[in-house]
């Protein structure tokens, strides 16, 4: 059976791993290549590298880091941050990235999703969506969550699926950094309305939160950063706990 995936997210700034609490107050958590190798050994199913400074400061994702990671890593990884063209993606995939994630650039120019899907295949196109609830509606935000749009989360997700996204990475800004659990209600609604896999992000604090995101949130994968980076949850323990709850995982 296809397993649920556990995905540590390595937020990258200036070549180092960082994790923002509600996207500010960054803490340093190590060298991305070493961390990536460690995570592969410890049983991570996949990794995501997000260049969090890229969109805000117009920086391009670090090709060198991608090459070094690809050389050493024997599990798949996704690269995001500052990707706005077919050329950007071409370089990343040629450097060994398995998938790319686009966020703000897809909001500004939705055709980008079509272009990427037709040139590289839907399987490598992840559309990342940051959203928070405003007056009861889930509103999409861009540029690392700093700018509000008029887009509704569910409409936008449906649109990018139609345009060729292979996967959605949904971060609830309301939950991110809180360690109070994932946005399971919104996730379940999203999962039901889409036919592509969904990666849940934002709010992981305990192992029980992961059980809930797969059971109640219907997520296909769960992404977290600080609980893994700071050793609060060991991936092996987490997977054993998930298996004890009858959730299929790779152990």
């Amino acid at each position: 059976m296809l397993t649920k995936r556990i995905i540590p997210c390595l937020d990258i700034k200036n070549g180092r791993t960082v994790k923002g609490v509600n996207f500010i107050n960054l803490r340093d958590a190590g060298d991305p290549v070493e961390l990536a190798k460690q995570y592969a050994l410890k049983g991570a199913d996949e990794l995501v590298f997000l260049d969090i400074s890229a969109t805000l400061e117009g920086r391009k994702t670090m090709i060198d880091m991608v090459l070094k990671v690809a050389e050493q890593l024997n599990i798949p990884f996704t690269v995001g941050g500052g990707i706005s063209s077919v050329e950007d993606v071409d370089v990343l995939l040629k450097s060994g990235a398995d998938k790319v994630s686009v966020n703000s650039s897809a909001i500004k120019r939705p055709e980008l999703v079509n272009e990427l899907a037709s040139k590289f295949g839907t399987q490598c196109v992840v559309v990342a969506i940051d959203a928070k609830q405003i007056d009861g509606n889930w509103i999409v935000h861009l540029a690392g969550g700093s700018i509000s749009t008029e887009l509704d989360l569910f409409d936008w997700a449906k649109e990018v699926e139609r345009r060729g996204a292979g996967e959605i990475l949904f971060t609830s800004m309301d939950n991110d950094g809180t360690k109070d659990g994932f946005a399971n209600k919104a996730l379940a609604k999203l999962s039901k309305s889409l036919n592509i896999p969904i990666i849940a992000s934002g709010g992981a604090g305990t192992m029980q939160h992961f059980v809930e995101v797969f059971k109640a949130g219907k997520a296909n994968a769960a992404l977290a950063a600080s609980v893994f980076h700071f050793g609060e949850i060991a991936i092996k323990d987490l997977k054993e706990e998930l298996r004890n709850n009858n959730i299929e995982v790779r152990l």
Binding site: M1, L2, T3, K4, R5, A40, D45, E46, A70, E71, Q72, N74, I75, P76, L93, K94, S95, G96, D98, S118, F120, G121, T122, Q123, C124, G166, E167, L194, N195, I196, P197, N220, A221, R250
Partner: protein
């Protein structure tokens, strides 16, 4: 040991090259028929859409070279699919090395199938030292029907051929280069064939 990765402009060949490098082997990219014919082992990669990948293969003339190769050939993902008779993706006519057709998942499950799934019914030296139900990494929307050339199966709503073999030709739907140490074992086994 000369390993050639067929370079026809379709796929994530860098990660395959890196995987061999981690095992201590230099795998060389080539689209030169002579180089490919004289290699000890040939990797036929592929990622993307079937009809455009097949068109690229035809443009390079390699569609006539691959089926006549005598050494062990390993098709990966779309490479494996192009070694089959036909694909529903873009109504593509493949190389017909394997007597199998490629269909689209149409069973209400999420497509693409993305992530780790088990391979079972292992029937080849390619899987030496693997356990039944080891996990492999897969990303695909189309699958090969279970058939007599199947050497491993995976279940995603239905049971399909996760790997195929005919004579010196091997094909795997999963990505051994991205499937942790188990995937590396498969690449080692392929080198040892």
């Amino acid at each position: 040991m000369r390993i050639i990765i067929i370079d026809y402009g379709a796929g994530n060949i860098k990660s395959i090259q890196f995987a061999f490098k981690r095992l201590g082997f230099d795998a060389v990219l080539s689209n030169n028929p002579e180089e490919i014919r004289s290699a000890d082992k040939v990797i036929f990669p592929g990622v993307g859409e079937a009809s455009s990948a097949m068109a690229k293969l035809k443009n390079s003339g390699l569609d006539n070279v691959i089926p006549k190769l005598k050494q062990p050939v390993l098709g990966i993902c779309l490479g494996m699919q192009l070694m089959c008779k036909t694909s529903e993706e873009g109504n593509t006519k493949g190389l017909a090395i394997f007597d199998a057709d490629i269909k689209r998942f149409n069973n209400g499950l999420k497509v693409p199938q993305m992530g780790w799934n088990t391979i079972t019914n292992l029937k080849s030296k390619l899987f030496k030292d693997l356990k039944e139900a080891d996990y492999m990494y897969l990303v695909h929307s189309f699958y090969a029907e279970n058939c007599k050339e199947s050497i491993a199966t995976t279940t995603y709503g239905l049971t399909y051929a996760a790997a195929l073999q005919k004579d010196n030709f091997y094909g795997v739907q999963f990505h051994p280069e991205k499937s942790s140490t188990v995937g590396e074992q498969i690449l080692k086994n392929f080198i040892a064939l």
